[in-house]
């Protein structure tokens, strides 16, 4: 049963701390997306990669956020330093096609920054 996995599932941290979220996409899914979901803004695309190369990070605050794909089985999203307004659920998704095709989502990381 192929699934997208995300770790950690929950993270509580203090303002100013570094946060790293990890995602393992489904094997063969070479397009990987990072989304953020909040009550106020809904689901927003932060960035996506294709074949590990960043193609679009226009939705990501560049000063504190960074996204990488060290290898085909791992995508990371880092926030440094974290702020209370970063509190949200962060989802990773992937597919074998491209950004306009159906996407397979992970369970999310719920981040709370106090």
């Amino acid at each position: 049963d192929a699934r997208v996995t995300q770790t950690p599932r929950h993270k509580v941290t203090e303002m100013g701390q570094e946060v790293t979220m990890r995602c393992q996409p489904i094997l063969g899914h070479n397009t990987v997306f990072w989304y953020r979901q909040t009550m106020m803004q809904g689901l927003e695309l932060l960035a996506y990669f294709r074949n590990r190369a960043p193609l679009d990070d226009s939705g990501m605050p560049k000063d504190r956020f960074s996204a990488e794909m060290p290898d085909a089985t791992l995508a990371t999203l880092k926030i440094q330093p974290s702020e209370p307004r970063d509190s949200a659920v962060y989802f990773c998704a992937g597919n074998a096609g491209g950004p306009l095709d159906e996407q397979y989502f992970g369970p999310g990381t719920r981040l709370t920054v106090t």
Binding site: L43, D56, A93, G98, P99, L100, Q103, F105
Partner: protein, 112 residues
């Protein structure tokens, strides 16, 4: 701003009834997709309809697309308590940023 807006924001029905959710969007699209999200979970893809299609079925789901009105509807027939979830439409534009834009969702409650 949101590309897709769902209507209604919330819907409560009895088990066995049909549920209809609508999505309106602003710009021309390549395709439109519907996703379901159970509480505390990730989104699950339900159905994709392309801009040259008018209707699509998948099990108890029926999706229509009217590109002249820039709107789509999702019909769930014979609803079950397990259908309780939030439903989102996502539009894939045919120009501009190559990405899905999600609406704000419809929260569906199916009473047993």
């Amino acid at each position: 701003s949101q590309q897709g807006e769902e209507d209604p924001q919330a819907l409560s029905i009895q088990e066995g009834e049909n549920a209809t959710m609508n999505c309106s969007y602003k710009t021309s699209i390549n395709n439109l997709q519907w996703y379901r999200q159970n509480s505390g979970r990730g989104l699950v893809h339900l159905i994709l309809i392309r801009s040259n299609e008018r209707e699509k079925h998948s099990g108890r789901l029926r999706v229509t697309l009217d590109t002249s009105k820039k709107s789509s509807s999702l019909l769930i027939t014979a609803s079950r308590a397990a259908d309780t979830a939030s439903y989102f439409c996502a539009t894939a534009r045919d120009t501009g940023r190559r990405a899905l834009t999600f609406g704000s969702g419809t929260r569906l409650q199916v009473q047993p």
